[in-house]
């Protein structure tokens, strides 16, 4: 009896361990695969060529800077839209709206997060882009702005859901303490509740950025996909091409093992490094604020 118990115990532990380690192993394998396919690009194309501003692979121009700037401008634009909207919505749900309204709205917002981005891209092409073209009097509505608006919409549910959880976890006694000192509702939210939920709100924003920078389908459909440098303010109203869209659109057409193929993987590597950096920055910010609190408490 005792023996069989310890045997099943060992088995279950082994299974759980395998699951845990394999998650790490898979990520490492993906990384090594990216390295194996992407790094040769550095040998085949000169670094100065890679960092040039011309992406025209048919004629062996492999400048990936336009793609990086394209990704950055779309992501920045999306976050400028999504951050205030997302946090505002989270504050409304957690602090202002009555309980019953929250019970309805929060699942709805989270449902939005599950919408396939292709569907949103469809809406972007049919409604958003024509609207932007006529409203802003542009030659085309398929611009970085359209991408940013759409991606902002995609990031909002993520931000709302996590930021609202963080705000909801702030002890009621903090709010009472502030209100009892004569703080108004807004002063309580801005100076007590939000700072207390700071790390959760930051995590929400970082996950929002992660969601945005990795998004492919919707941006490919609405940004116009012109690989031009997006470094001026007016670039937001011009077509751009992001790294993700480039890989998705062109991977199917390249010869396996060619320079072009390797460069596309190299772009994937850059993307991987960027999202890794975002995650590390996010967790270090959260971690630092936690250790400070722990230091003070001890």
């Amino acid at each position: 009896m005792k023996r069989s118990l310890s045997w099943s115990e060992t088995l279950i532990t082994a299974v759980v361990k395998t699951c845990g380690y394999s998650a790490v192993v898979f990520v490492l394998l993906i990384f090594f695969f990216l390295l194996r396919e992407g790094v040769p690009a550095l040998g085949e194309v000169k670094l100065s060529e890679l960092l040039s501003t011309r992406w025209y692979p048919i004629e062996n121009h492999f400048g990936i800077l336009p793609l990086i700037t394209g990704s950055i401008i779309v992501t920045l634009g999306a976050m400028l839209i999504a951050a205030p909207f997302g946090i505002g919505t989270a504050v409304f749900l957690s602090e202002i709206s009555p309980r019953w309204l929250r019970e309805i709205l929060k699942p709805l917002v989270e449902l939005l997060g599950g919408l396939p981005s292709v569907v949103l891209g469809f809406l972007g092409i049919l409604i958003l882009a024509p609207f932007l073209r006529t409203f802003l009097n542009l030659p085309t509505g398929l611009t970085a702005l359209a991408g940013a608006l759409l991606l902002g919409g995609i990031a909002v549910p993520t931000i709302v859901s996590i930021a609202e959880d963080a705000l909801d976890a702030v002890p009621q006694s903090y709010r009472e303490g502030a209100l009892a000192l004569g703080a108004t509702k807004w002063q309580t939210i801005w100076r007590v509740t939000l700072p207390a939920a700071r790390s959760g709100v930051l995590t929400a924003l970082m996950l929002g950025i992660g969601r945005t920078i990795g998004e492919t389908m919707a941006v490919m459909m609405v940004t116009g996909n012109a690989p031009v440098m997006a470094i001026k303010l007016s670039s937001i109203l011009a077509p751009v091409r992001t790294m993700t869209a480039t890989i998705a659109a062109e991977m199917g057409e390249v010869a396996n093992g060619s320079t072009y193929y390797h460069v596309l993987f190299f772009i994937g590597l850059v993307l991987f490094v960027i999202s890794l950096a975002v995650n590390i920055i996010a967790s270090s910010v959260v971690f630092r604020s936690k250790t400070r609190a722990e230091r003070v408490l001890s």
Binding site: Q172, S173, Y174, R175, E176, G177, A178, L179, A180, L181, G182, A183, T184, Q187, R191, V192, P195, A196, A293, V296, L297
Partner: protein
Amino acid sequence: MDKIVIEHLTLTYPSGTESLKDINLKIPANAITVLFGPAGGGKSSLLRCLNRLNDLVQIQTLTGSIFLDGENILDPKMDVIALRRRVGIVFARPVVLPTSIRGNLTYGLELANEKRKSRLDEAVERGLKLSALWDEVKNRLDDPAIALSGGQQQRLCLARVLANQPEVILLDEPTSGLDPISTGKVEAALQELKKDYTIILVPHSVQQAARTSDYAAFFLQGELVEYAQGKDLFTHPKIKRTEDYIEGRFG
């Protein structure tokens, strides 16, 4: 002089429990009035009515009136923010804000748009001296407040309320988590403070009620059973239920 007059105050929660039943009470200025009785008697509910903190919880009905200097504070048109500045509260568990000792003290004033440094410093010193905390923290005002001991945190909360210069101070079991020495310091501070403030205290024991009270009100299951001067009520209670409770026969 009666600072607060409560008339026919009845409060019920959505669960159907009647928390306060037709309470009539006159609370004099410059004295310590204790509200005591077994748990669930409505003491805390009453306390929270006095600065409208009960606005935050679900309430079924609230009827009757509470007059502060003749003004009905349950009036929907009442400026609740201004009221809470006049009627401060200290909770059972100290809620220190996540900032420095000084920051905790100046918080209320900064909310009221006081920016002059001299005024803020003055308020910090006054609050800490009144709550008998000044000597312990005067050299480390910029340390995080959460690093203080439990007793110091509770006096910090009192000091924070005092820095706001309220007229009435509500205390909801302010010493329930404190050791006897800290409790003694808080009680001594209250005796000093009553010269300038109206103090309403929910004590955490009958002994504390007897020690600190000028006036005492005994609450049982939402009813005000007996209300008298402390020295009379604790030595010669007029009502049997009060006597039983004081002598420890129930509750």
